[in-house]
Structure formats: C-alpha cells, structure tokens
C-alpha cells in the first residue's frame, strides 16, 4: 500500500507539493502562535515586574510574614513558620533569591555598664537579621564575629546609625539586659562592636532600612537561636518577620498559574493567612493575567481568518486531486475495491503528507514565531532586537505540542473528508455526475447572506457601544469576539455574494454584445457559463486574499500608528527632566527668625552640555495649582508656564486637532503677557468666555491674574480627561483643566519656582547619551520623559507587536497561498481542457484567438476577483478597521483615531497580485504554445 501511495503521489508531484506547502504553512501558523505567545508573555511578565521595581524602588517578588511568638507558647509557631520558609519557594514554584529572618525580642530595659551620665535607662530590642554580615557595610567598628560571643561571655552586637544617635550608644559599650537570661541563668550582656549601614550597591536585602532599626541591637543568628529559641523560646516574646524574596527575572509565563493560586491560598485559606501581608506581586500578576487573557483572545481571533483560508486551500487542492483521480477511483471500484479500501488509501496518503508537512511546519513555525517577535510595524521586521531569533530560544512546550496535534488532526480531516464522497463513486455514477449541473450548496443555503447578516449585526452592536469599549478595556473585560470576527465574515459574505453575481454579470455582458462577439469571445462566455462554478473557489480565495490583505495592512498600520501618534503626543517633548529642587526649609532661621522661603535653582548650564539636545526650554508644570472660582470654591487645575517661542520650537502636535494651529495660540499668548490660554472645560463646564479674567494660584498659593485669550482642547503632552478604575470596579471620568501662562509673567510675580526642562533632540542623537548625561551630571530627576523610549515601548508592546506580526504573517501567507493556488488552478484547468483547445485549433482557430480565450477567462475570473476584492477590501476597511481599532485603544488615548492607509502597502499588494496574474498568463501562454493539436486530439480518445 505504501508503495502504491508513493507512486500515486509521485505521479502528481505538483499537487503533492501544493498539499505539502498548505500543510506546512498551516502547521507553522498554528504552532508559531503558542511559541510566540510563551516568549512574549515571559517578556511581558518580566516587564511588569521590572516596571514595579523601577517605579517603586522595591523588590516586587517577595512574601512577608510576621508572627509574634508569645511567652509560654513554647516556640511552636516559630518552628512551623521556619518549616514554611524552607518549603515556600518550592510551593510557589519559584527560585529563591534570599529569605531574610528578622527576629527581635520584645523591647527590654537595659542599662549601660559604662555608667555614663548622659545615658539613662535604655529600652532596646535584642534581635538578629539573618545574613547581615554579608549585606551590611561597617560605618565604624567591626561586625560581630562568627562565634558571636566574646571571651568574657558578652554577646557581640552591632547597631545602626539611627540607633546609635537615638540611644547615644558608643562602640565598645557593654549593655546589660536584666530581664534576659543566658543559658546559665545570668543576665545577658552585649558589647557593641560596630555600627552598620547599607552596602554601597542598591541591595534589596534591606526590606527594613538601617534607619528603621533604631531600637534594635543585633547579634549573630546562631547566638540568638541558642539563647532564645528552641527549648528556651517559651521564656520570651519574639516578633519574627520573614521576608522570602524570589527571583522574578527567570519567572516564566507557565509558572504564573501555580504562583498565583498558591499565593491566593496563602493569603486566603491557609493557616498562615493572618501572618502574611498581601504581597505586591499579586497585583502585578493580576494585571498580567488580565492583559494576557486579552492578548490571548485578540491574537487568537486574528489568526482565525488565516487558518480558515489555509484550511480552505487544502480543501481545494485535495478536491482537485480527487477530481483528477476520479477515473482511477472509479476504475478501482469497478475492479472490486471496496469504498473502504479506497478511503483507506487516501487516509493513508493524507496521514503521510500531514506528518511530513507538520515536521517541517514546526521548524518553520519557529521562524514565524521569531518573525512575530521581531515585528516592528506592518511588513517590517528587526531581527536584531528580536525577542526570539529563528530557531533560537523559542521552546517546544506542551502547548506547542497540543497545537501541533490539533493542526495535524485538522489537516487530515480537511483532506480526507472529501474522499468519503469520492470513494463511493463508480464509473456509472461518474458518467451521470458529468451530466449534472446544479447550484453550489452555499448558494442554496444563502451562506453569503447569513455571513453578511452576522457581520452587519456585529458592525451595528460594536458601533453602538464604541464608547463603552474603552471602559471595558480599562476594566480588563473580555472583548466581544464579533469585534474581530465580523470583518472576516463580512469579507467572506460579500465575496460569496460577488460570486453569486458574477455569472449574471457575465451573462449580461454577453447579451449586450451578442452581435459583436467573435468565436473566441463566444467560446469564453459559453465556457464561463458552463464551468464557471468550478472557479468559484479560486475566485473566493483571490478575493479574500486581496480584501483580507488590504484589511490586514490598514488595520496594522492604523492600530500601530494611532498608538505611536498618541505616545508621541503624550510625551510632549523628546526629553523632559524634572529635577529635585532643594529649598531652605530644613535650615531654619538663625536665632529663630523666620526666613523667607526660597528654592535653590539647580544648575541650568548642564543642559548645554547635553550633546544630543538641540534646544531646551523651561516649563513650569504645576499639577497642584488651582483657580479661584469665586466665593470659597476653587477649581483644581494644572498650571503650565511656558516660554512661547521656545515651547513652540521644541514641541510638536499633529495638524488639524484644533481650529487653528497651536502655534497661533502661542503667538497670541506671546503678544499678551497678562493673557492665559485655558482648556475648553473652562468654557464648556465652568462657563467662562474669552476676555474673562481669572485668578489662579500655584501649589504654594501664590496668586496671579490672567485674561482668557482662548480655549484649547489639545496641548503637547497634556491629558485633558482620563478614566480611572475605582476600587469597586466602576470607571470614573476625570477632567483635568489646564491654565497656560507665559513663564516670564509667572517668574516676575512669584520669583523662581520649580520648573521642568523640555528638550528637543537632534536627529542623529544617540539614545544612550541622555542617560550617560544624567549619570555624569548627577542629575536627580523626579520625573523624566524619553520620547524615543516611550515609542519603542509601544512598538514592543506584546499586544501591538503580536497583532502586527500576525497581521503581517497572515498577509504574507495569504499572498503566497493565493499565488500558488491561482497558478495551480489554472494550469490544471488548461491541462484538463487541452482536448478542447485541440478541437478548436483543428477547426482552424488561430493561436491568437486561443490566447484571447485565456485572457477573457482571466478577466472573468481573475480580473473580476481582483476588482471585487479591492471593493470589498475598501468597504471592510472603512467599516471594520475602526471597530477592530477600539479593541486596542489604551485608556490614555487622547488623539482622535484615524484610519491610516499606506499607499505603499497597497501597491505591494496590487504588485504581487498583478505579478501572479501575469505569471499565470505567461505559463498558460507557454502551455498553449506547446500544445500539439494531433496529440491533444489523441487525448480525447481515452
């Protein structure tokens, strides 16, 4: 059987290659998804943790427990907690970074044995901090020794600087705790050997900073355990804190579920729930899971059309193959092969092809996944900064294997199902079949109209709820699948509808020119009328390729460009630095005299030394300003003080957002030093008019008055209204009014107040230079903006990147499929009609006329499909891209959304389609040119 099958495949090698290609692409597309996802999610997880680390400055992956081991309890709680600590990381499925134990005895009275007058009775906690000797640096003196006990029986102890200051202790001083007893029953004495501080490097060990340990006198862990825990724990009340830090860098997406569930158990149901404090990473994981679910759904839904198209391609090619082998099948059947045997032969063949194709497909899938991970924009890849290089660290997970298996099952099913129908064929009903002529099944059950109805329903509901979509994104609700799928349904529906119309159109054209048609045109019209239905599939494929291609191109561009434009707007300038400003408040006046409060302006000259800067300007950006609205009420506003000319040069805004270009508002402000620009809220909500004068104050309460020159609804970097998620899950809209005044006016009234520096970068600026400059100049930014980094973050956002990657991959796969499918269809179609061409040539038809027939057929099939595809594509872009787009709108989307079409993409699409059609014609011409009439007629004899 194997040999027979192999022979069968070899005899139809082009068909076999086509089937293999289809399987390969289907497997690769299906497999690339979980591969990309796992790597992208790993990165997203890392980014989420990293983000917390950089904004909050604390190690996010930590579980903190605290218990108080009471006297008389015998230390059972301690041993239970220590047991938990040993198992905790294993339970959570994470790698332990460090577990810090901090035990301290209840504060006890102590006295210095030095008999110093300035030190009275002390109240100190004796305790230990595990690992202190490795993490602490010594400010003075020495760390306690390994034994922890000096020869004279005194415990060696260290204290923090804050403890030294507050308790006025000295190095070398011995303290006696009368209430604490050593194993021999004598009061515990401790000698201060040194003062510790944090090491030089940032160290996340310091969950409690040395400043916070101002009442603590720390001894070595071994000594503490020997004196106060175990059998002796019953005698003391010990507060035990456990900080279990784990590594988040190597945390993988697959570990999240276990980590999340175990954490929820720990804080919810476990016996330890009262001892643990809600870990910060739980929130991070929540955000992550929400995002992950959204991305999962979005990317999966985006892949469906491509997978369906691939399935359809396989179905078409295998259908063609069955058609070609009809005679063989009926001969086999007539010679006594049972339907089951024929079916088995095909099943066997399809399994063989599928296994072969999938093996290669998994390998190709790795490349696809790499492509997805390095997508920067539509049809644009950057393998340099790639998330996963082809064949690189993309791993084969269980999920991947599952997808592979599903893809295989799908392929076999799609290819084998038609065999069931064909295996029942005998030579008798084959002849009958040839005489039959009927409508396609989809025409009868109105599939086109059903698809259109569902798509339009989706369009209607999604358009109606557009406002609510942004809220549901913020809430992390699942997206309506219709939002993604209705566009594909619309394309399929309209495509089928076009197929329904096509014969009518062709008939109408034929009827119109009945008198003019020569023999060639006559034949092509008649052929189309008779065999047009056979072409429906390839026509649908071509239409879908073009319209889906257009849709993908426009959707990808629109989604990314809108996000990028928004990020560009939000950044305000290329760089913004807000430094920490020192003031004289801590110094206090000499002799108690009140001193006028003032700021020390940081050195502004250093901005001249930032080489990547082209220009910079000072901007007062005060988010705690307010406007006096009469009576006792005030309206919180943001106050911006700008230097009009410099501000206009350094910032930018997209055109057409407001009535006038924002530079015109700046010019107006420049001419009126006492004027202000205010946000449109002042007009729309507060009821002010142009020319009204208002009193506004900065965060210190300094007043100024300004005349409203105009209202603005967009301003570089400014968010006028935002949505926030309330703890109860509802969303509230917050409006943030803005007042813009000339900085000169403000500083002449208020003196120097803290400002930000807005910087425009040179074209060729080196991105790292900015950070080197911050380090070299020892700038202490309270806030900074790096526009290029923000834009990069948008591009690398897993949802956007995955979307871009999938849309691009889908586009390429569609083009490839469409090209291969179209060529194969027509080559086979010509081959099967060689006899007819032979008859026509024998009857004296010129070669030119035969070409004419071919060109006509291409116009009826290809030309019609391309034209319909372009129309459908345009329509579906206009209708459905905005709907798809809303699924990607970030909560901070300020700019109005725009449909973005890159002519270049469409030219590429048309170019490839045109090239496929031209190549197809060339090949067909070649086939006809080589046609041997006598031989072709012989073919008819069989």
């Amino acid at each position: 059987m194997f040999k027979m099958m192999l022979q069968k495949l070899l005899s139809k090698k082009w068909m076999s290659v086509c089937l293999l290609t289809g399987i390969l692409l289907l497997a690769a597309t299906a497999v690339s998804f979980p591969m990309y996802r796992s790597t992208a999610f790993d990165r997203m997880l890392y980014d989420e943790f990293r983000e917390h680390l950089s904004t909050e400055g604390e190690w996010p992956a930590v579980n903190s427990f605290i218990i108080v081991s009471k006297k008389d309890a015998g230390g059972k709680a301690i041993s239970r907690m220590e047991g938990l600590m040993e198992e905790l990381c294993g339970m959570l499925g994470v790698t332990e970074k460090e577990t810090v134990y901090y035990y301290s005895l209840a504060k006890a009275d102590a006295r210095s044995l030095m008999n110093r007058k300035d030190v009275g009775t002390l109240s100190l906690s004796l305790g230990f901090l595990s690992g202190l000797e490795e993490h602490a640096g010594m400010l003075a003196g020495e760390m306690y020794s390994e034994e922890g006990i000096a020869d004279d029986g005194c415990l060696e102890a260290v204290i923090s600087q804050s403890c030294m200051v507050s308790s006025k202790l000295l190095i070398g001083e011995i303290i006696e705790f009368s209430g604490l007893k050593d194993p021999e029953g004598k009061p515990v004495r401790a000698r201060i050997t040194g003062v510790f501080q944090e090491g030089r490097e940032k160290d996340f060990y310091w969950r409690r900073t040395p400043e916070e340990l101002s009442q603590d006198i720390l001894v070595s862990e071994t000594v503490f355990r020997k004196y106060f825990t175990g059998d002796r724990a019953g005698g003391y009340t010990i507060t035990c804190c456990y900080e279990s830090l784990f590594e988040y860098e190597d945390l993988e997406a697959g570990q999240v579920k276990r980590l999340k569930e175990t954490t929820e158990w720990l804080t919810g149901e476990s016996p330890y729930r009262h001892t643990i404090s809600e870990p910060v990473y739980a929130k991070i994981l929540d955000t992550y899971t929400r995002k992950q679910a959204r991305i999962d759904a979005a990317l999966f839904l985006l892949q469906i059309p491509v997978l369906v198209l691939l399935g359809a391609f396989l179905f078409m090619i295998s259908g063609q193959m069955y058609d070609m082998e009809r005679n063989d099948i009926s001969v086999m059947k007539s010679r006594g092969a049972s339907g089951g045997q024929v079916f088995a032969l095909y099943l066997y063949q399809n399994c063989f092809l599928t296994v072969l194709g999938t093996l290669a497909g998994v390998w190709l899938g790795r490349i696809f996944a790499g492509g997805l991970g390095s997508a920067r924009s539509f049809l644009e890849f950057d393998f340099q900064g790639s998330l996963a290089l082809p064949g690189g660290d993309v791993v084969l997970s269980w999920e991947t294997i599952l997808y592979t298996a599903a893809a295989m099952a799908g392929c076999i099913l799609i290819m084998t199902l038609p065999a069931g129908k064909h295996s029942r064929l005998t030579i008798v009903n084959l002849k009958q079949k040839k005489a039959q002529r009927k409508h396609s099944w989809w025409e009868i059950c109105c599939l086109d109209l059903i698809c259109l109805a569902v798509a339009l329903y989706g369009y209607y509901t999604c358009t109606k709820n557009q406002g609510a979509v942004a809220e549901s994104v913020l809430k992390g609700e699942n997206m309506d699948p219709l939002q993604y799928v209705s566009s594909s349904l619309f394309i399929v529906g309209l495509g089928l509808f076009a197929l329904r119309l096509q014969p009518l159109i062709i008939k109408a054209i034929f009827a119109l020119g009945r008198r003019f048609w020569g023999p060639a045109s006559y034949i092509s019209f008649m052929e189309n009328g008779k065999n047009g239905r056979k072409q429906q599939f390839i026509m649908l494929l071509l239409m879908m390729a073009i319209s889906l291609g257009m849709f993908h191109a426009v959707a990808a561009r629109t989604i990314l460009q809108n996000a990028l434009k928004n990020a560009d707007y939000l950044a305000g300038a290329d760089y913004i630095v807000k430094e920490v400003w020192e003031d004289n408040s801590s110094q206090g006046g000499k002799g108690g005299d009140p001193v006028e409060f003032r700021y020390y302006e940081p050195d502004y000259e250093k901005y001249d030394r930032l080489e990547s800067a082209m220009a910079c300007t000072k901007v007062i950006y005060d988010t705690k300003a307010y406007v006096d609205t009469g009576g006792n009420s005030r309206q919180d506003v943001t106050l911006m003080g700008i230097h009009t000319r410099q501000f206009g040069e350094i910032t930018r805004m997209p055109e057409g957002l407001m009535e006038k270009h924002y530079h015109e508002y700046l010019n107006e402000l420049a001419l009126n030093p006492d004027g202000i620009l205010v946000s449109a809220d002042f007009r729309d909500i507060l009821g002010y008019k142009k020319g009204d004068t208002i009193t506004y104050c900065n965060f210190q309460g300094n007043q100024a008055r300004g005349k409203i020159l105009d209202f603005v609804s967009y301003w570089p970097g400014y968010v006028f209204s935002s949505m926030e998620l309330n703890p109860d899950g509802s969303v509230s809209h917050i409006s943030r009014p803005l007042v813009i005044a000339p900085i000169g006016t403000l500083s002449s009234r208020w003196g120097t107040v803290p400002y930000e520096v807005w910087i425009s970068a040179r074209e060729d600026a080196d991105a790292d230079e900015f950070y080197r400059w911050i380090k070299d100049e020892q700038v202490r930014p309270m806030r900074y903006v790096d526009r290029s980094a923000d834009l990069e973050a948008v591009i690398r956002d897993p949802l956007l990147q995955g979307t871009n990657g999938i849309l691009t991959m889908g586009f390429l796969v569609i083009l490839l499929l469409c090209g291969v499918g179209y060529l194969i269809y027509w080559i086979l179609s010509i081959r099967s009609r060689e006899m007819i061409f032979g008859i026509l040539r024998a009857g004296g038809m010129h070669k030119g006329e035969i070409f004419h027939i071919l060109i006509n057929e291409q116009i009826f099939c290809g030309g019609f499909s391309v034209a319909a595809g372009i129309l459908i594509g345009k329509l579906s872009c206009d209708m459905f891209v905005p709907i798809l787009q809303t699924a990607y709108v970030a909560a901070n989307q300020i700019l109005p959304l725009q449909l973005i079409t890159r002519q270049q993409d469409l030219i590429r699409l048309y170019g490839v389609t045109g090239a496929v059609l031209a190549l197809c014609l060339c090949i067909l011409f070649g086939l006809v040119q080589r046609l041997n009439v006598a031989k072709a007629l012989k073919l008819g004899e069989e």
Binding site: G529, K530, A842, G843, V933, K938, E941
Partner: protein, 228 residues
C-alpha cells in the same frame, strides 16, 4: 489505385512520408504515399489500425507536416503556408470529423454546429443552415442537448453536422462510423455520398469497416505506412 479523370484535382499527395522520433531512434509512420484526389468524390482511406491512416489525414488537414514529400491543395503546397493561412484553410474550406469525440463540451448540439459557421465567418441565416444540417444527420429533435447527454453515436452525428455546416470544400473524417451501429453507419456513408453528389464536396474518410469500402469513388489502402 483507381483514378477518375473527369474533374480537376483537389488534393495532390506527392511522395509523402512521416517519421516520428522515438526513444530508440525513429519510427516511419508513412512511406512514399502518392495520390491525386479529384474534386467532388468520396475517397476511402482503408487499412488496419496503425497503418497510418490518421497520420495521413492529419497531414492532408495541415494539422501535421510531412517529413518527406508534400501535399498540394489547389496546387499549393500546404506545408509552405503560414500558420495563419493553414488555420484559415481549415476554418473555411475544411470540415473535420475525428475518431474521438470532437464536440465542445460546454456547447449544446445546436451551438456546436453553429460554432463552425461562426468560425468560418458566415453571417446571417445561420439558424436555418444549422437546423438543416442537424436534420440531415437525424438529430432534428435533440438540438438543445449537451454532448454529455448524448450517446457516442449521437455525438458523432453532431460532429458530422458540424463538419459540413459551413459548406467546406473538403471534409476529412477519421473513422466517422466507428461508434455507430451498422444501419447508422450505412446512413452516414449514404449521407456522404449524397453530399458529394449534391454539394460537390471532396470527402476523405478513413475506415476499417469492409462493408463501407464500396461506397467510395476512390480507395487508398495503407499497410504499415505503405501504399498497397
């Protein structure tokens, strides 16, 4: 070989030979065939299968080129005609009936016959001629049937109707009676004889049916590619 001198020569076959290249060298399908076929007679090309009848017919019909010798139609060497001239010759002056079914599957019987009129560029009054021809072959009642809906014999008769519809000067028929029962075969042969009689058409027809041999005004017999 018999020859009638009463009318002018329509087709002149001079030393025609045809060699096909094969894997092991070459195969001589025809060797030195000579004949002068006068206008307006029915010529029978007879011989066993594989004797070269179809090859000779293809050469006469300008579908194939002889390796040696030449065929003159109206005194013109058809091998020297351009591709286009050959096409026009076949289109306007010849009608073909092939051994295998030679109808266009997407056209019904009527359309198939009408198509040869279209090809020949005949305008006006096509309908009457088409119907006349179909009636002539006894298919007056099956004009709208598609080829797939007809039997082999019926298809063959449509092919004959098509071959004669545009009133060609020469009809080349390759085993036109192979698919027909003996009564129908006799009928077709009678039809051909009538055509020769009425319309002065020159018909060359191959057959291996011994019963039909007498119908012809002239017989060329081939055996293993050679004239007997």
């Amino acid at each position: 070989m018999q020859e009638t001198q009463q009318s002018r020569t329509a087709i002149e076959i001079n030393h025609v030979g045809r060699t096909f290249p094969t894997a092991g060298g070459s195969f001589q399908a025809l060797k030195d065939i000579n004949a002068r076929i006068p206008e307006g007679i029915l010529t029978i090309l007879k011989g066993r299968s594989g004797s070269g009848k179809t090859t000779l017919l293809n050469i006469i019909g300008a579908l194939d080129t002889p390796s040696q010798g030449h065929v003159l139609i109206d005194g013109k060497n058809i091998a020297r005609l351009t591709e286009r001239q050959k096409d026009n010759l076949r289109r306007k002056q010849m009608g073909f009936v092939f051994q295998a079914v030679s109808l266009i599957p997407s056209l019904n019987a009527w359309q198939n016959v009408e198509f040869s009129l279209r090809m020949a560029g005949i305008r006006g009054s096509r309908r009457e001629r088409v119907e006349e021809c179909l009636r002539m072959v006894g298919l007056g009642s099956r004009m709208t049937h598609m080829p797939a809906e007809m039997s082999g014999g019926e298809q063959q008769r449509v092919a004959i109707a098509r071959a004669l519809a545009h009133r060609p000067r020469i009809i080349l028929a390759d085993e036109p009676t192979a698919e027909l029962d003996s009564a129908m075969a006799a009928e077709v042969t009678r039809l051909f004889a009538e055509l020769v009689e009425k319309e002065k058409v020159t018909i060359i027809m191959t057959t291996h049916d011994v019963g039909l041999m007498d119908a012809g005004g002239m017989v060329i017999e081939l055996e293993n590619g050679e004239q007997k």
